[in-house]
């Protein structure tokens, strides 16, 4: 999980990117590799273990799911980005009209706030190691100590103030820290592995021995911990595929790839996926599995203590920087999204307000502890608008319909797009709530429902556009 720290925003916001401003392939490799080693990776890895994943399910599921995510960027997002060369917001405005985009901004801003809140939560767990106050447990919903509230408040206030002043400095620190953070994440896994070998008295002489240790001690499978949903191979695969759904299928990264020379540059996202969403998740999960192995009663998912036990102060610094450098741009972007709704307020004030919301959200550990479900919800919420962009760009003309209809007809709210969004979300939520089970498997859980949801949204947008555009003419 991540937010873009170094994407070239602020330029060509209402015009196509010109040829002379296009970026090379290496720019995208560096951008994605750095961005996806975020504070939340330290929550997601352990939560996989809490969800009872087995070694095969987590390793092969992540390989497959991340490949599907890369293909989504390469085949869905980038081809539109390099043809239109517009930001998502401007393209949406042309399709949906200004008022619907404002609503989209509101939804996006709120989700950004919660996401930033979970990043603040991660950083605050590092302060708990230094100040030794009671920290929340895996199933805690509310803040459980004054110390915790004060720690989140301190971290949240610092992040918000810096974000309000503009995040150029934090962006620079993030870029400097990125290569170092990747190696510290790797060190978490290596140290955790050594500790596992010692704790289980295993002898590792081959890859087979290592795989045996992984299957029998690290990712043992079986029942999830109390309060957690059991994760199978398909859960892991779909989670890895859809955890950045807002960016690829949801088309948020149109704003990034509009600077790409070719659509195949989308493959650069593999650098982020296999560093952050494979190595970092597995490393963090090894640390949590070790904690459970040593003390099965200690189910707390606290990145600070986990990192400190493995790598000492360097690990703690990594947790703080990973949470801080990703929460900062998230708050900044949420502020920008909200400012579009209240343009007469200063960006400084709106960003501070946004930071306050994120800080309050961060005090409630339920968001971070239920991050697997929250991330799926985040992607699902924004996915229908990605399907609208896809259908508008590729399909409408084939049906004799007018693309960019809001711009063409000077509409402020394209009801075909708006209804597509609302109805798709309604259908998806009904499917999730239905709890339909086929041979013991629930195909419409929150982690899976976005797949049928995308086809529903695409078909709905074409059908509703036909009816809407005909009614207008």
């Amino acid at each position: 999980m991540s937010e873009n720290q170094s994407q070239p925003t602020g330029e060509f916001e209402r015009e196509p990117v010109p040829q002379k401003s296009l970026l090379g392939f290496k720019s995208f490799i560096g951008m994605y590799a750095g961005e996806h080693c975020a504070g939340t990776e330290l929550m997601i890895g352990p939560l996989f273990v809490a969800a009872g994943v087995s070694a095969f399910d987590v390793v092969v599921g992540l390989i497959l799911g991340n490949a599907l995510a890369v293909l989504s960027w390469m085949l869905l997002t980038a081809p539109i980005a390099v043809r239109a060369r517009l930001t998502l917001y401007y393209q949406l405005e042309k399709i949906c009209g200004r008022n619907l985009v404002t609503l989209y901004n509101l939804a996006n801003g709120v989700m950004f706030c919660f996401l930033a809140g979970s990043m603040i939560t991660v950083s605050a767990t590092a302060l708990g190691v230094w100040f030794n106050f009671p920290m929340p447990g895996l199933n805690d919903v509310y803040p459980n100590s004054i110390g915790w509230v004060l720690a989140v408040l301190a971290v949240g206030a610092a992040i918000s103030v810096v974000a309000a002043y503009g995040y150029e400095m934090v962006s620079r620190i993030a870029n400097i820290a990125a290569p170092w953070m990747v190696l510290v994440f790797l060190a978490f896994g290596i140290v955790g592995l050594r500790e596992f070998i010692t704790a289980t008295d295993s002898q590792i002489h081959s890859l087979g021995d290592l795989w045996h240790l992984a299957q029998t001690s690290i990712w043992k499978g079986g029942e999830p911990l109390a309060g957690q949903v059991k994760f199978t191979f398909w859960h892991v695969t779909f989670f890895a595929w859809f955890c950045n759904m807002a960016m690829h299928i949801g088309m948020s990264d149109l704003s990034v790839f509009r600077f790409a020379r070719h659509s195949w540059y989308g493959i650069a996202t593999a650098a982020g996926m296999y560093v952050g969403h494979f190595m970092a998740w597995l490393s963090a999960s090894v640390l949590y599995a070790l904690q459970l192995h040593n003390d099965p009663a200690n189910t707390d998912v606290l990145p600070g203590p986990l990192a400190y036990k493995a790598c000492g102060i360097a690990g703690l610094i990594c947790v703080i920087i990973a949470g801080w450098t990703t929460a900062n741009p998230t708050i900044y972007r949420a502020g920008l999204a909200f400012q579009a709704i209240v343009p007469n307020k200063s960006r400084f004030a709106v960003t501070l307000f946004t930071g306050a919301l994120a800080t309050i959200a961060g005090m409630f550990p339920a968001i971070a502890m239920q991050l697997l479900g929250f991330v799926a919800l985040y992607g699902l919420l924004l996915m229908p608008m990605g399907a609208v962009v896809f259908a508008d760009f590729w399909l409408l003309k084939h049906f004799g319909l007018q693309p960019y209809y809001a711009e063409h007809s000077k509409l402020s709210f394209n009801w075909a797009a708006g209804l597509t969004w609302f109805i798709t979300l309604g259908i998806c939520l009904v499917l999730v709530k239905s709890g339909i089970e086929i041979n013991g498997f629930q195909p419409f859980q929150i982690w899976f429902v976005a797949l049928p949801g995308w086809f529903i949204a695409t078909a709905l947008y074409i059908g509703l556009s036909k009816a809407y555009q005909q009614s207008k003419t």
């Binding site: 620079r172 870029n175 400097i176 820290a177 290569p179 170092w180 190696l183 510290v184 790797l186 060190a187 290596i190 140290v191 592995l193 050594r194 500790e195 790598c311 000492g312 102060i313 360097a314 690990g315 610094i317």
Partner: protein, 66 residues
């Protein structure tokens, strides 16, 4: 100067990951591993901002001044 700083950063990066590998092979204990990682991290964060993100021209100018 820039190349020298980049070399220091590269060594710091190697020194960040190497202790954990040595811990894995049993060449270091955990306390030594943590200390070595901390030192490498400090070196990385001192050396790297001096060249990363700095325009090469500015560094060349500084070299002339120095």
């Amino acid at each position: 100067m820039r190349i020298l700083l980049q070399l220091v950063s590269a060594i710091a990066l190697i020194a960040t990951i190497l202790p954990s590998i040595m811990f894995l092979t049993g060449s270091l204990d955990l306390t030594q591993t943590k200390l070595a990682m901390l030192i490498a991290s400090v070196v990385w964060f001192i050396a790297t901002p001096l060249w990363m993100g700095q325009p090469p021209e500015q560094l060349e100018h500084e070299e002339i001044v120095l």
